[in-house]
């Protein structure tokens, strides 16, 4: 049986119609160095059993962070996701549905997105939330563009404690929207003065809490400085579980919140897909990108849900839309909502407490090791260590012992000076006492 629908004649005819000599001709814009000049060097085809065996053997060489003692964080966190979450999101109505373009027939989808928006607004201390974005980094980029539309200004001040990937994604968008990004550079000392960089052309200041180095901050004074200068404050959150314990961005006066919702309901997924969170003040609602679900009543007075304010969106507003996003991370948002619903307010606060308690415990033990210094004066469930040796080497050595010690700062800030020995260590409710023992003893050996 053939699986390829095209005959050689079909191909010839199609190539002739567009004036290409061969299929290879279609790739001539790809640099030669990046092209493969011949077939991939693979053994001849094999039966299903043999392929399965070969690939399973290759997969067994991996050390999965979900299984091994893992202290990896830096924007993606390992949390326990109750089995009920996975079970419920796999219902066909949820799993296979695309973003609703005839939304009102999908009342179930709209209702859970409404619940999601409500939960997100409550957690972040904001007036309104959208139905989600792709991930935290794209939310951050959208937040900057949104601030530029609101203020009609073209400059954004970016904290040196913002996750470097978020900065990169924002810089890519900014390049094409003609927005100028200003940053004092990596701030591992925690001494940057962002208020001094605000001027009459500043649309917004972007900060993160807890910041990239794990520090817990209060940006109330910065929010006042922004307000005085007519600029907006964008607060990024990469670990939303922290909001069960610390002051919310809304309470600090954030005008826009851009967050990563992966921590709730979602596995690490090799860094994606995840769920972007975006909220703002009621008065900026019309400049918020993305889908928005509203609650209303039908002709008989019964509760119902609708996609609302769609005139902001691309399928209606075309090039004048607030963003080119016309979708959302529906399934990840659903997982977020189910997980948070299962936790409830009390459970969520307890979860945050467990994370912080575990971090305090581990930090205490790690700082007892010679050659380990804790840089943070505050933290939630992640902190930065200064080691006596380069962090990348230490992480490699510990991986050899089956332990993921954390993320070397130099991996995310390869060009920064003075970061070589810095290690980001994240701790969650999933890290057992035994895992902590293995990290401590492993680190002692490696640093000896």
């Amino acid at each position: 049986m053939r699986y390829l629908p095209l005959t050689a004649d079909d191909r010839r005819e199609m190539l002739a119609a567009i004036g290409a000599a061969s299929v290879d001709d279609l790739y001539r814009d790809v640099p030669k160095a990046a092209r493969l000049d011949g077939p991939v060097d693979l053994p001849p085809h094999a039966g299903e059993m043999e392929v399965d065996r070969a690939l399973s053997a290759m997969a067994a060489k991996n050390l999965p962070a979900a299984v091994a003692p893992s202290f990896l964080g830096a924007g993606i966190y390992r949390h326990h996701v109750p089995a009920a979450v996975d079970h419920l999101i796999q219902r066909g109505e949820f799993l296979t549905a695309y973003t609703p373009y005839q939304p009102e027939v999908s009342q179930g989808t709209l209702q859970y997105l409404f619940e999601f928006q409500t939960q997100v607004a409550m957690l972040t201390g904001s007036d309104v939330a959208n139905a989600s974005m792709y991930d935290g980094a794209t939310s951050c980029a959208e937040a900057v563009m949104m601030a530029c539309r609101i203020t009609k200004r073209r400059k954004a001040v970016i904290s040196g404690s913002l996750h470097p990937h978020y900065h990169d994604v924002t810089a890519t968008s900014a390049k094409f929207f003609g927005v100028n990004l200003v940053s004092p550079g990596p701030d591992f000392a925690g001494t940057e003065d962002l208020a001094a960089l605000i001027d009459g052309d500043t649309a917004c200041v972007v900060v993160q809490n807890p910041d990239f180095f794990g520090r817990v901050r209060d940006f109330t004074a910065l929010s006042e400085a922004c307000q005085a200068a007519g600029a907006l404050l964008v607060v990024v959150v990469t670990e939303m579980v922290s909001l069960g314990l610390i002051k919310s961005p809304g309470e600090m006066g954030a005008d826009i919140v851009a967050a990563e919702g992966q921590s709730l309901g979602n596995a690490m997924n090799f860094g994606g897909p995840t769920v972007g969170v975006m909220t703002t003040r009621q008065k900026y609602l019309r400049q918020l990108p993305g889908r928005l679900v509203g609650e209303t009543a039908d002709a008989d007075g019964r509760r119902g849900y609708v996609l609302t304010l769609s005139t902001r969106e691309q399928h209606i507003r075309r090039d004048k839309a607030t963003s080119n996003i016309c979708t959302n991370s529906g399934l990840c948002a659903l997982a977020f909502t189910i997980h948070l619903t299962l936790l409830g307010e009390v459970g969520f606060k307890r979860l945050a407490g467990l994370n912080h308690a575990a971090a305090v415990k581990l930090a205490g033990r790690l700082t007892g090791i010679e050659g380990v210094e804790l840089l943070n004066d505050t933290y939630f469930n992640e902190f930065t260590l200064k080691l006596a040796k380069p962090a990348a080497d230490v992480v490699e050595d510990l991986a050899g012992k089956g332990v993921f010690a954390g993320v070397p700062v130099s991996r995310l800030l390869p060009n920064a000076e003075g970061v070589e020995n810095l290690l980001l260590v994240a701790v969650t409710e999933t890290n057992t006492a035994e895992e902590m023992d293995r990290l401590v003893s492993g680190l002692e050996e490696v640093l000896r």
């Binding site: 019309r286 005139t311 902001r312 209606i316 507003r317 004048k320």
Partner: protein, 125 residues
């Protein structure tokens, strides 16, 4: 008595001295349907003829309102912020959107008078 001129994009401008009061025509509001939001320009903003001055949003669409002449925005109709439906009920009177200080009166010559605008509407129908 003020002179009223019209554009092909269905804006009207009522001229008194060097001030033009701008809104959209009754025909335009009828086409748009119930208006739910109107984004007015900022007072002090300099507009060129044909620049986007305001946005009118109905339940189904959002459309731009263009400046019929160049000049500085001197006043906006704040009443529309709370009651955009005023444009539906009184498009060519109480539903005015903004006032503009006319920079170049000669631009008015190219606009339509009421009779020509009525002709245009007939052609559209």
């Amino acid at each position: 008595m003020a002179t009223v001129k019209y554009t092909k994009e269905h804006e009207w401008v009522s001229i008194e001295g060097d001030t033009g009061t701008v809104g959209i025509t009754d025909h335009a509001q009828e086409q748009l349907g119930d208006l739910v939001f109107i984004e007015l320009p900022e007072v002090g903003k300099e507009l060129g003829q044909g620049d986007e001055a305001a946005v009118v949003e109905s339940v189904k669409a959002a459309s731009e309102v263009y400046a019929p002449v160049s000049g500085e925005v001197t006043e906006v109709n704040e009443a529309l912020n709370d009651n955009p439906a005023l444009v539906n009920s009184e498009a060519e009177t109480g539903g005015w959107m903004f006032k503009i200080k006319i920079a170049d009166p000669s631009q008015l010559d190219a606009l339509m008078d009421e009779a020509s605008y009525r002709e245009l509407l007939k052609e559209i129908d």
